[in-house]
Symmetry: C2
Subunit: 343 residues, 2 copies
Amino acid sequence: MTLKTIAEHLGVSRMTVSNAFSRPDQLSEDLRARILSAAEELGYAGPDPAARALARGRTGVVGMVLTNSPRDAFTDDVAVGFVRAVAGSLADAGYSLVLLHSSGSNGVVPARDIAMDGAIIYSCSPAASAFTALRERRLPIVNVEGLPVPGVPDIGIDNATGAYQAAEHLVKLGHTRVAIVVAALDADNAPASEISLETASPTIAGRLDGWMRGLQQAGVVPTILGTPALEMDEILRERIDRMLDDPPTAVLAYSDLVALEVMDRARDRGILVPEQLSIVGFDDNPIAARVSPALTTVRQDIDAKGDAAAHALLSLLREETPVSPQRLPTALVVRASTAHSPS
Amino acid sequence: MTLKTIAEHLGVSRMTVSNAFSRPDQLSEDLRARILSAAEELGYAGPDPAARALARGRTGVVGMVLTNSPRDAFTDDVAVGFVRAVAGSLADAGYSLVLLHSSGSNGVVPARDIAMDGAIIYSCSPAASAFTALRERRLPIVNVEGLPVPGVPDIGIDNATGAYQAAEHLVKLGHTRVAIVVAALDADNAPASEISLETASPTIAGRLDGWMRGLQQAGVVPTILGTPALEMDEILRERIDRMLDDPPTAVLAYSDLVALEVMDRARDRGILVPEQLSIVGFDDNPIAARVSPALTTVRQDIDAKGDAAAHALLSLLREETPVSPQRLPTALVVRASTAHSPS
DNA sequence: CTGAAAGCGCTTACAG
DNA sequence: CTGAAAGCGCTTACAG
């Protein structure tokens, strides 16, 4: 059942049937109606998308590669919000989003093997195999929250400003003993001076930069703890526990999820938040406003980030003028998890 | 830059180059290595996926159509969890998931126009345009939490059993004045006897059936309120407010999100939960355990549902024996939002 | 182990 | 307004 079936059935050329579906202005209304109803009658659902994609050189699909597999990323509300915003913006332009998992055990490498018109890369190392595969294919790509790569448009948030505001907030509340809790950086309750930022991701580096500058105003030198892993893990939990053995009066966390972990562990030990321990998160995860005490955090506009990424890619697909890198704003949101230093 | 480029460069046939990439056993290791390195050198990223899809009749992509647009569905943790599980299971089998939005303003209908090997339809009416488009294409499809459609495998949860347990729980706590809050059903604080279930979705009908049977044991006749909309909306909020003017002692909600809405509104009016009002949700949304008081709810195993849907589709794709419909288990999880009836 | 032939189902200029 | 020609880039049997 192809274009040909319909064409022969009606005694017209395949071309005319193709036009009936794809270029209605190329034939008379009358003929088109006849073709469409014949197609309906014969049970022809329309031109085969795979064949059309090959002939047109265009699939209508955009790829999304997420830090880890979709399985992991979808446990993080921030990543989910991003995917949601991207999918929405793309849908408005007629594109569908395909989730690209990293290469599986069966030899399939989606970034290399899936037909698509372009891709958005979220929080990935430029060395990731999906990233390099996409570049080899010379597909239009947009890099979100990643290390800058020459020739690849870059979208991200202004990590430093929000972090600065968070640190400043603590300083104003009189805190002098502050711990910073991060991931993707190996640090075991070490003084800030001992930490090398060279290997840190731009996200972590940006936030650390803001936090440190904010604290420096008051001469505060924080302690830093982190894990080499990208997310909360046992190493970080243990280091947080160690920190709470002799707790600071305030904690700056690199995400709301980490902040909540600190909050839970403090509560388990009877440390009062915010009376004895102030906690500031990052992201303004939807859950931040619902927990008790509600979490003071740094808001980033996930919808705006998703829209920006989608539009950057769309303009690449339309071969418009190259998009300039964007740094979306962040801002402190003060809630109930921070208070004056007890000391 | 195609297979041909490499073939001519090396003086072999295109076929042999194709085999080097796709059927390594069809040529000598030595020749294959030469071909691969020539490809690398010339900057050939491998066979074009769109052309390959046409020739093979297989794309490696599976579609997912969600109740509303991805934009809406991704605000619901239950839907997100489902997508996550499906994407994970599919990835293990080498398939990628493409999110199919409903037809946009630009004439693109993803369910009709995107190349894919099959699709999973989540919580959709069989009359939805995406559903009919997929059927017209005769693609393998799996229907999740939808109305049964002849010839389409069906996956869903056992709504009635969990709902029955929830109602029984309230009965044991001595509640006799109970309200049921649903969506996708128009009911304005009406006695259960006046509600027609004919138009209800199988999900709502299943839960109502369980709730009613559970309450009937004790001769309790609930009041029902709902909105025609699929989700929480102003109509339902207003009806909840009206219910709280003369509150029952317990509420059975069709989702945790609705339960939390009831909880928030009760709190605003100074109605104590659970002392004056017991609330039971449905789903065991991740947020249910985090709110205060933690929500008593009916757990469904979203991961299992996603896996079941993915495997049902995979067996269809492999043309294995048709899958039998599945009803996954549900169970009551008692937390802190339910207590003995005050009266 | 290698390659010539046929085909996957469509669309894009272009000529009439 | 309609159609014959060429082509999109690959793979699947099959013959040597």
